[in-house]
Symmetry: C2
Subunit: 334 residues, 2 copies
């Protein structure tokens, strides 16, 4: 995604959270959907991730909150009588943003929603079709989280009134998100088709939403759940790819690999060169994460539904990174 950030000076007075936000989690599209199968959820991963999120929140016994029929099923969940009012707990505050994966991309790219031009029927149709697809995914994620007892609330950026201008965030008032968190809910936002003041419409990506929310809400840390162990120095499918364990970000936003010590200094150069790659790969991800780390917020990029993601979600990495942990930490260089 080639969207850029700008300071959101147009954002109206932000509400302050009563209890600080503990963690923002990005559910990467590749981690929770089957990338090469249109509109197919990776049910196993989504279920494990939901369970790990519940443990990270310290939610206590699971109380299913999805009382709706499953698509195609006549069975009615009858969990309602099991809810025990004595079980009130004080969980840590989480916020979730998810990508699109195999939802939305097909519709958006077929119609060119990101390029704008809502007066064209094809673009308008694609806008509607994209929102149908991404909100379908959002609803399925809400239901998976609710089945784990996470009080999740779907919130579409479009409905929240978020808009862009020249594809940068123009208005993204977080007061409704703040109110939902304060009321004890876990808002679940997503990459969405939105209105753009200059070109009519565009796609607001999940990663841009994460950066904006991290800046506004200042969580203790941010976790990106993905389908590989972290950030590599080259495509992880290549045999000599090296997992970057720690990336240090300086206050001017520049960054360098701290762990492992790359023997070959040309590696560092390759990573810099790859910054010109526009496919939204590794370097885009590092740049987005560096924006957040610059604020003093640790970022963990980790493979979803593994012991490593479980540790990251529990906040076990904030003091010290254990040797056995696989993933990428991106944080302010000391």
């Amino acid at each position: 995604m080639d969207q850029h950030h700008q300071s959101t000076t147009t954002n109206s007075a932000a509400l302050t959270l009563t209890t600080p936000l503990h963690c923002i989690v990005k559910l990467g599209g590749s981690a929770i959907t089957c990338k090469n199968e249109l509109e197919t959820i990776n049910e196993n991963n989504l279920s494990t991730v939901s369970s790990q999120l519940r443990q990270g929140m310290i939610l206590g016994p699971s109380q299913g909150m999805d009382w709706s029929r499953r698509p195609g099923s006549l069975d009615i969940p009858t969990v309602v009588d099991e809810v025990d009012d004595r079980l009130a707990s004080n969980p840590k505050k989480f916020l979730v943003v998810h990508g699109a994966g195999s939802f939305g991309h097909f519709q958006a790219s077929k119609s060119g929603v990101h390029k704008g031009g809502l007066s064209r029927p094809l673009v308008k149709s694609g806008f509607v079709a994209t929102r149908i697809s991404v909100t379908t995914l959002n609803l399925e994620i809400i239901r998976a989280l609710a089945r784990e007892g996470i009080p999740s609330i779907g919130m579409s950026p479009f409905s929240c009134g978020w808009t862009t201008s020249e594809r940068n965030i123009a208005v993204a008032d977080t007061s409704t998100v703040v109110k939902a968190i304060d009321a004890g809910f876990v808002p679940v936002l997503h990459g969405d088709a939105v209105l753009d003041n200059s070109q009519g419409c565009t796609i607001l990506s999940g990663d841009v939403i994460i950066s904006h929310l991290a800046e506004q809400l200042r969580p203790d840390y941010v976790v990106f759940l993905t389908d590989v162990f972290g950030v590599y120095d080259r495509p992880p499918t290549e045999p000599d790819a090296v997992l970057l364990r720690e990336i240090g970000v300086r206050e001017d936003g520049s960054w360098s690999v701290l762990q492992p010590k790359l023997q070959d200094t040309s590696r560092q150069v390759e990573i810099t060169v790859a910054a010109h790659d526009t496919t939204g790969g590794m370097v885009t991800k590092i740049s987005e994460a560096a924006m957040i780390a610059k604020l003093g917020i640790d970022v963990y990029i980790v493979k979803a539904a593994t012991d490593h993601s479980a540790r990251a979600l529990k906040g076990k990495l904030t003091d010290d990174i254990p040797d056995g942990w696989l993933g990428t930490v991106i944080r302010l260089a000391k």
Copy 2:
């Protein structure tokens, strides 16, 4: 529903529509769902209503905008290449609000969401479960409208940041709705679980939303689609029930039946007495409609998916009510 109105003085500066809003349509829960079957859509009615809406909007040839897989199906709609950019038209502006029917009610009533108390796990669970159910219905309605080529956009009152205070609307900014209409979309709102400043949470009903939007956006007329021919002087299942054809509303909000001339004046009295009925029946509906009619906006209450609803949606009743038309007109008495 025993919610009451108050003037929404807390509503922030309303944006003005570039093109006036032509019509607000209420899709009654009883008209588009099977009332006695949990979470079951009345597919035939919904499909016919969608088609009638398209005709009312004067949308031109149908261009399917739902490019997603149907639940349980592997088929991918391949309508994308059929979209013809030359077919740009200038349809009339519509806005849709739907009720819950057999979606949401079960979850809301089991947990008492309308009575508030979010600190109780049962209420919080019910809030999440209610929103899952009503947004599932919303998504299915969006898809049905999109299949007809109506550029529909789901907008949940919760996500729009709408809140209540003592169960009356406190904040319900319509600027995002206005922007969506101006961009050529048909916003589709719904009765929703929302946060309440005084009691924590409540249910904001579709009828209250309609009144608020009618007041703010001043459509030419409002159509309530329901499962009976209109408003009767007694439950329509009773053999001597009389369809009230025309109700006149005075500027003080009081109303009386103009057509048919009720020979028996005690009938009029019975209707007034029934106002004490709290089941949200006929008189509640008349009162809500009278609030709108008082603003000079005609209200038609009509059976969904009939020739009568088709006429109402096309705006064929604004000058003269044809003899053959079955339904109830509620308007300012001249």
